[in-house]
Symmetry: C2
Subunit: 653 residues, 2 copies
């Protein structure tokens, strides 16, 4: 506290005055406790990277306990494993089998969405859930392929490599992208950079998901209409023109079958949404549809060839695919880019889903740990013929409703997939492609959350605009660019808010020491001789010039107002700095320059209640000295009272 004496006169006195006329105690503004640059850096790094204080649990523990806690935090299975009993197992088996009935048809469908062989979808529903069960901290996450990440991988890779002509290279790229997605996810967790996914705001995601859902739905027109020659592009315009250019290929048998099963699936979905207790109706209907439609095609196989079906699928477990990873060559950059984008999207979905259900059951999901779990799961997946996986919202909801208690439901689901892979693959020979399209359509239609978009419109127009940007960006430009545009818009919003912060004029609420915005509180009134301004933003290089000009304009306008009303001359400008949460060197210079300019107009500048870090910088840059003893107060009320009494003592009006 090198800048002034303590101006507190009588701390114990209960007589704090009313409104600027009687004697008011004046409290001095404190500097925060002194810290070295290193201590501050340490605190800042701690705030940025370790906001959850991960080592807190290890303090004051014996070494043995620390090892146990360490194991538990690396492998959450140790936390709940020891208390696992038959009752929990029963719930988990039921929910595991329920999600398996959903996961098998969805796995096959989503793999087709990524232009991968259907079997890869099943492989991806076997290994990753097992790994997540050991590493993951969510109890309700149902792991496997998801629609958005599948779509994005499919669209990004097939722009450069044809999945039909170069199928081996395409597969290699898919596994390599999955590997890089895993590496990226795990490193975000390890480096504790999890906050990067926060930059995909809810508004962005609503628009992005809806756009992606529309694109996925359009892709399903191929299967639903039975079109053979379909465009490889994803955007709405080429897809629709492809659909209408190939009208001759439309097959009425396929269309009838598609519409039939689609109505069944949508109806069951509608029922389950109305009555969450009947979740099993929508959970069972995809598998039931697959079985019925397969039987149907088998029975009419000699009558018509218009309905295309999956055909031969290899039996057996995931083959190793480490040798298919691809670390050099022309397409490496594409694989890395695809990996990062699918990685960040699947991470966002997985974490959001995990958080949602954790919040419903009131337990914590640790973001950074989840990232590592999902990352390792994908790295392991890429070596065992799996493509990118994460927690699926629809299957996790079914899992939750079916009463899952722990990650064992994922193990049960994986076992069911195992049995399918080993013994049941030939049964899918006659499964029609149209049913896969119907299953995808039913799943993605729920992703178009128009109610949430409407709420954005009602509450925050700018968020709605962001949402629109990502929706139309995805629909008309491309999936990764649409996402980039929306993130850019969100960041620009933050920057714009900082660049043009709000300033408002304050007045006193009569009979109190409260100073509030004159625009909002009609009872608040100006104090003659003072202009009280509140600045609602940190003062940075990006706004220092603006704020300086804006405050001078306030002063000019106030003087004009006074002239018109023949009021008391303006003598002092009080800046309420409560909301100025930071200041940089440009900001300090602006304050200094402002003081100099106001002085030339015989106006005094007074700062009120700067926060700790700001106070420190004001002190270091000697602005406090320049302002003088009566240039800094703790509250607006004290500033008004002290300055008024000084003026009175000096015989000024």
């Amino acid at each position: 506290m090198g800048h002034g004496t303590n101006r507190v006169e009588d701390m114990a006195s209960p007589n704090n005055g009313t409104a600027g006329e009687t004697v008011v105690e004046i409290h001095s503004v404190c500097l925060p406790p002194k810290k070295t640059a290193f201590q501050k850096l340490k605190k800042r790094v701690g705030d940025v990277f370790f906001p959850d204080d991960p080592l807190q649990r290890f303090r004051n523990q014996t070494w043995r306990n620390r090892v146990i806690l360490g194991l538990q935090s690396l492998f959450p299975i140790f936390t709940w494993g020891s208390q696992y009993d038959l009752k929990l197992l029963r719930s988990d088996v039921i929910s595991g089998l329920t999600i398996a009935s959903l996961a098998i048809p969805q796995g096959i469908s989503y793999a087709k969405l990524a232009n991968l062989p259907p079997i890869v979808g099943l492989y991806s529903s076997f290994v990753p859930p097992l790994i997540y069960a050991v590493l993951g901290s969510s109890r309700h996450l149902a792991v496997g392929p998801v629609s958005i990440a599948s779509l994005v991988m499919g669209s990004m890779l097939s722009e450069s490599v044809s999945p039909t002509q170069d199928s081996i290279l395409y597969l290699k790229l898919a596994f390599t992208s999955t590997f890089f997605a895993g590496v990226f996810q795990a490193s975000l967790g390890l480096l504790r950079l999890g906050f990067m996914i926060d930059f995909l705001s809810k508004a962005t995601l609503i628009g992005f998901t809806a756009g992606a859902a529309v694109i996925v739905s359009l892709q399903q027109l191929k299967g639903l209409l039975g079109i053979v020659h379909f465009t490889g592009k994803m955007q709405i315009v080429p897809v629709m023109s492809s659909v209408f250019n190939h009208r001759s290929e439309w097959s009425w048998e396929t269309i009838v079958m598609g519409i039939g099963f689609l109505s069944i699936l949508l109806t069951t979905r509608h029922i389950s949404m109305r009555k969450p207790k009947l979740f099993w109706i929508s959970a069972a209907s995809p598998l039931a549809s697959v079985i019925i439609s397969t039987l149907l095609v088998y029975l009419i196989r000699s009558k018509t060839h218009a309905i295309s079906f999956i055909g031969h699928l290899p039996k057996g477990l995931n083959p190793p695919s480490l040798n298919m990873l691809y670390f050099s060559g022309a397409h490496l950059a594409l694989a890395i880019k695809t990996g990062i984008i699918t990685g960040i999207l699947s991470l966002t979905e997985g974490i959001a889903v995990g958080r949602t259900f954790a919040s419903l059951k009131n337990y914590q999901v640790n973001g950074n740990k989840e990232m590592m779990a999902i990352g390792f799961m994908n790295m392991a997946g890429s070596c065992t013929s799996c493509y990118v996986t994460t927690g699926s919202f629809s299957r996790s909801a079914v899992n939750y409703n079916a009463g899952a208690k722990t990650a064992v439901s994922n193990i049960v689901m994986a076992s069911a997939v195992l049995v399918t892979l080993l013994f049941l693959m030939p049964l899918f020979y006659y499964t029609p492609n149209v049913i896969l399209a119907a299953i995808i359509l039913t799943a993605v239609i729920g992703l178009i959350d128009y109610q949430a978009a409407y709420k954005l419109w009602k509450v925050d127009k700018f968020d709605f605009f962001t949402c629109l940007c990502s929706f139309f960006g995805v629909l008309f430009v491309s999936v990764p660019l649409g996402l980039a545009i929306a993130v850019a818009v969100s960041v620009i919003k933050i920057l714009l808010h900082v660049t043009r912060p709000n300033t408002s004029e304050f007045g006193n609420i009569p009979g109190t020491q409260i100073y509030q915005s004159l625009g909002r509180y009609r009872e608040a009134s100006r104090i003659p001789g003072f202009l009280i301004l509140a600045i609602e933003s940190p003062i940075y290089f990006a706004n220092s010039t603006y704020l300086q000009d804006r405050i001078l304009r306030w002063a000019r306008e106030e003087e004009n107002r006074i002239k018109e009303n023949n009021g008391t001359t303006l003598k002092c400008i009080i800046l309420d700095m409560t909301a100025v949460s930071a200041i940089d060197t440009s900001g300090l210079e602006a304050v200094f320059e402002l003081r100099r300019r106001l002085e030339k107009q015989s106006l005094q500048l007074v700062l009120v209640n700067p926060v700790g870090t700001v106070m420190e910088k004001l002190h270091k840059s000697k602005i406090i000295e320049a302002l003088g003893l009566s240039g800094l107060y703790l509250t607006v009320g004290e500033a008004v009272a002290d300055l008024s009494s000084t003026w009175k003592a000096n015989g000024q009006p």
Copy 2:
């Protein structure tokens, strides 16, 4: 105000209590006056694009006055032109001639820095100052080529086109870049996007300028050592290796002459800096050095050929160059990019210089208008064989010290250049290149502002880091990339501040209604049963998850502390929202979720003093209703008093 009744009981009562025990009036929190979305958008657009309220002067004026005011604001010359008299002219002639003596040698030198023919530097000191005199609003700006923009243009263009082998194409590109620089500058002004240059913070500029100065100085080693074969690269490593690889080309005559004149120039500069009244010593020394060295070379021209000189320069005025502008072809993208970067750099320099001297003489320089003036000046320049120009700091300082009163000093300077172009060009035939190198070196050495960098280090470590980034980026990577890195670092700082905002615990200062940070004010003390937290940032998607987790952690830690000390149970968490200057839908959801979670732990959440826009959104999203009547207060003191008395009434401890 649909959310609650007015809880003000007795507005006139002077009895506002002391510290939470006696009866305190409770004021309700107001919504801001209702505005439609369009009104809000209009206000926001006004704040962003028209913060200076440019039409204010036109209000309540007759049409005749409006025309005059309009003309005056388009052509500031009309503002001061009518009051111009002989006394002002005398000052302007003296200062104009002084800066001309500086502008002529600097113009020739800077053109060489941009790899352009020396005569282009003189052309650029003739037309642009005339145009600025009519359009510009600064009275002290001395317009012409400047070192940084010259360097950047030279380095960017010569990376793709060789200035020696393809000299015509190079010249075309230079004029085209100048044209685009002008277009970019004028449109920033017209579209009122002037705030974009604010993103080049002072810290960035200090580092960037110093880095560019080092690069410029290194380039001068060619001239100072008399090297003939010099690298075309700019970075420190290739330049130094080129210097030492061509040791055989070093010419001792050149070195002796260079060091001699360099010491003279540096000494005169030092004298003028010590005694600003002797500014004319440093102002006159470049021209004097040129004259003396030219004479010297002329006299010894038969003895040695080691000293290279300028050679033939064409006589006559600026030839038109409209036909040399280049609007198609392979290099158009390069020209646009160079134009934008040199445009933004020269704009930043010009506006900063204008503001500096305007502030010294206490007049206003309008940023957007200056941008248009500088932009039109460059557009006109590009059609009359000029390359990019702006207000030079060094020459403007001389102009100011020499007593310039209006932009007429620029006209006088242009006239002096005119005379030179028409009659004196042959005199420069024997001017040695080494003297141009010495002039540039002397000019740019002053750009390395190590004192400012040291001040950054002392006051704000992060700003110092930004400064270092741009310095080393320019030095080792490239000029535009170095700049981009520094801007990115500055923006990331803003985002980081938003992503990980500060929260602090507040306590009551005994005997008052003041609540302040417990960490800063040792006299502040906790109120039993309450945890009072201040959030120092807007609540956005980028920080909503973090803040939610951080507040829950505060609650957890507070409960642990209470358990250790056997204190009163925690019952209520008060969030002081004064510094929360904005909220978006993610933030609203975080508040809602926080309330839900705290409720499960039987903790009440109370918000205090949300600002207008935040209050509005809280209201629209129905959070106010969810919080209930005792969930929102105007001050922390009122919240504490009201809740305590309610608890007491309910018989709770």
